[in-house]
Amino acid sequence: MEESNKDEIIGTDVLPNEKDDPQPEPLELETKEEVSVKPPDRPPPKIVEVYDCNASNALMYQYFGQRDYVECKSLIGEIQSKYNEKNEAALHVRGLIARNEGELEEAMECFQKAYEVSGKNKRYYYEMGRCNFLLGRHQIAVEQLKKASEVMKNNPKVWYWLARALYHFPTEMMNGKQFNPVESAKTVLMNPDIGRDSALICFLGRLCEELQDTKGAIAAYQSALKLESDNTDVMIRLGLLLLRMGDEQEGFEKLGNCLAYDPSNSQALLTIGSIMQSHFDHDVALNKYRVAADVCDYNGCLWNNIGIALLARNKAAASHSALKKASFINPLDYKISYNLGVLHDIMNLHCSALHYIKLCTELKPQNAKAVGAMAVILSHMGDNKNARLAYKRSIELQPFPSIVLNYAIFEYRMKDYPAVSKAVKLYKELEAAGSKCSLNNKQTANLLDAVLKQYDQQPAEH
């Protein structure tokens, strides 16, 4: 303490009473007198002392950079008690430390003090705005950040935080037109300067994604990856986005890249597994899932996919327990209950199947596929009246080619031939309209057509 005092006092000699007193507090008083009260009538003091409150800033910054917060705080305490809280940089760093440690109130206080000390430098509005943003006071944050942006014109970070705060504004009517927080956040971020920081571009990508601007989002993520090629988060986002666009090859590549950096990334594993499953490569998918289940075995979607992969390998019992586990974890996920319904129907447990399909329709009403599946199960149970109702309802909600075909077969079994021909006609229309139809579907439709023609001829002969 004493030694450092000596270091900072630039002068040849030290006042004798200072030597006796090891405490820094009286020293401050001394400085004040030295600076402010200078009686002109007294003979001028021999020793002139110059105090440099910024002398140990370099050390402070070094500690801060090394994340040695304990040392740094004690150094700052020393500086502040010595110079009566006049060191602006120390106040600033103290605030940063407090914010890093999650003490936002304290951080705001420090920044406020720094603001006062600095002669109202608006730069500190940037820090305060960020604290307010973290506290969820987005309105205040935006105001402060806007003030900060007046001084920090060339710093894209201000725009980034401003956009983030704007993003959380409530959607409401403003001046007669709809205020879209995402749109306005994007407008703020649309600035050529942001191309230097991946976090900024990544957020822009997220905004674009939310505004359905997939091309913009992909471009943003790709340039973020150029800046920071090992960011697995961005890779997953980009991969998922590409997959959603239908670009499977690219998306798969990105996710594979992500796994190269982080082999146990459960999100990437799950996605890759599901892509493989959609290409009927269930064994590889199961291998991927095994790694993912090791990391977190409490993921309902994961167990759902495992269940489907096992079912594809004709292991109904194992699939059943996997799906049950999935539904234990995610009881409100309609897809899992749909799968359970289908599985039970395969296992010839129609009552349970109906239960799960009903659960699915309760959780997600107006789902044509679920209603269609329910119709199939009902017809398996022999409840033809309700099965027909369910088919009609499903087609009414949204006609899927496979369900329409199922309906046609059902009506054929019921020997209601006009209904069959109507259904087949609907199927043809759907196929012509470009709905996805499997090869199997097409064959069945042709078969039905042929049978119908045969039937049409028969009554003519009689």
Partner: protein, 506 residues
């Protein structure tokens, strides 16, 4: 036959016979009459002491209630920052140890067990939280250092001694009677169990042990019991160890393991139980103790194996059956769990909890008709203290059926029975959030956390809502607390990592 004279016992013999037949109040009356005639009759006096203490006898091994002061002002813990797996506070040795998603935890943050036992209530956490929990209706915890059960016993003894206490401890010549091997055991048990004056009991045991020249294992055990009650765990350990050197007793092993559990040394406890098993092979007390410790450590497989050994030795041990059933249920084998629960039912136990469990197992095994009747049975027979849990489970069943409005109603009913039922609060919050009523969901999650701050689900769900609303600071706090309850939760960790840059970016 009628010629045979009817033998009528009188006097001391009668009292002895009544005592043998466990008709304690009658025996006590006879003794009182005898003592009125001859107040200096030591045999009668001792018998009366025995009658009184037997009527309030509690198995000291099962008496695990711990007061607040003992739990939180505890100075006995040997290693405050233990290696994982060597402490109840840091139980996980594997990633799949304690996992509140796959196996729900109790109010105190312990994984759910098959039976309710007081021991499962102890858990780190803050004093503040414990005090708040103590104030709620259902999980009252004794605040003082003597446990709740002891306080109840204490008041019982006061009532019994309304016409003046039987033995005036302040005036009795303790050194004389305590050193007398004919009566000192009875006197000790009377003081320990009936009067519940541990200080005097300790004095008696000390004098008696000295009189027996420190050779009597019985007195060492009694001293250890006193030390346990007084919270002097190290002295208790010393006494028990020296007792074991003289003679190996099941009780001594069990008490020693219990002391080790108290000082949070599960490994030492397990070792003691294993030594006990060497001396008394397949002993139920030892096996049950080991199973409990393993369960508290999150090692369900091992725990179940011990419980199965218990069942080999004693096939009607309800605790073992229930724990095995619970583990099977949460292990995704409801059909097997159902068989175990049915076994409990066959043994004549019929409680609403049991019927509810059977109902849930049936539902999970898709025996819907049976599930319904069991749940209706549970609901019909439920008492006020389990009503909230029963309604909560009915809510779960409603979710499984897909009837979400009814589920919400069931949760509300659970909350009317127990306003502090945090699980119902959380689930109701989830349903509200699904309906898009975010603010309502927020307040429900918030009150769930205030009722049970260690709850993983409440903290995590509120954190998700906060993150969506841009309240990142609150979100960070909540995630950190959720991670305390479930340190390995992948999504929480990822969220925390994505929150950090918001603070630390320059």
């Amino acid at each position: 036959m009628s010629d045979d004279p009817v033998i009528e016992f009188t006097g001391f013999i009668k009292a002895c016979r009544l005592f043998r037949e466990n008709r304690l109040p009658e025996a006590e009356v006879v003794c009182t009459n005898l003592l009125r005639k001859n107040p200096l009759d030591q045999a009668t006096w001792a018998l009366k002491l025995q009658c009184l203490s037997d009527s309030t006898y509690v198995d000291e091994l099962e008496n695990e209630d711990m007061g607040l002061a003992e739990t939180f002002l505890d100075q006995n813990v040997i290693a405050p920052s233990a290696r994982p797996g060597t402490s109840f506070q840091r139980p996980k040795t594997t990633a799949k140890g304690i996992n509140p998603i796959l196996r729900p935890s109790t109010n105190a943050g312990r994984p759910l067990s098959g039976v309710v036992r007081p021991q499962s209530a102890f858990k780190s956490g803050s004093m503040d939280q414990a005090v708040r929990t103590a104030r709620t209706a259902k999980t009252a915890r004794a605040v003082s250092s003597t446990s709740a059960r002891n306080m109840r016993l204490g008041t019982a003894s006061m009532a019994a001694g309304a016409d003046g206490e039987f033995v005036n401890l302040a005036r009795i010549k303790l050194p004389k009677y305590a050193a007398d091997p004919q009566v000192n055991r009875q006197l000790f048990e009377y003081v320990f169990y009936f009067v519940n004056d541990i200080k005097v009991a300790h004095e008696i045991a000390g004098i008696a042990s000295k009189a027996a020249e420190f050779e009597d294992y019985y007195w060492k055990n009694q001293l250890a019991k006193c030390y346990l009650r007084l919270g002097m765990l190290q002295d208790a350990t010393k006494q028990l160890q020296s007792s074991l050197q003289q003679r190996k007793l099941i009780e001594t092993f069990a008490l020693l393991a219990k002391t080790y559990n108290r000082v949070d040394q599960p490994m030492a406890a397990l070792r003691t139980y294993a030594e006990g098993l060497d001396a008394f092979s397949e002993d139920v007390t030892m096996l049950t103790g080991m199973a409990r410790v393993q369960e508290a450590l999150g090692e369900y497989e091992l725990s179940i194996n011990f419980y199965k050994r218990v069942l080999d030795a004693q096939s009607n041990n309800i605790e073992a059956i229930a724990c095995v059933a619970t583990t099977y249920y949460y292990g995704g084998k409801p059909e097997i769990a159902l068989r175990y629960y049915r076994r409990i039912l066959q043994m004549g136990v019929s409680s609403p909890e049991l019927f509810m469990n059977i109902g849930l197992c049936c539902l999970a095994a898709q025996q819907f008709d049976f599930a319904l009747s069991s749940i209706i049975r549970a609901q019909a027979t439920m008492t006020e203290d389990v009503a909230a849990d029963v309604w909560y489970n009915i809510g779960q069943v409603m979710v499984d059926v897909g009837d979400l409005p009814s589920a919400a109603r069931a949760y509300r009913l659970a909350l009317t029975h127990d306003p502090d039922h945090s699980e119902s609060l959380v689930n109701l919050g989830i349903l509200r959030h699904r309906e898009g009523r975010t603010d309502e969901a927020r307040s429900l999650f918030g009150s769930a956390i205030s009722k049970n701050p260690l709850m993983f689900e409440g903290n995590y769900n509120l954190a998700l809502v906060c993150a969506a609303q841009g309240k990142y600071h609150e979100c960070r706090r909540l995630i950190e607390r959720a991670l305390e309850a479930f340190p390995d939760h992948d999504h929480c960790k990822r969220m925390l990592n994505s929150l950090k840059p918001l603070y630390e970016a320059i």
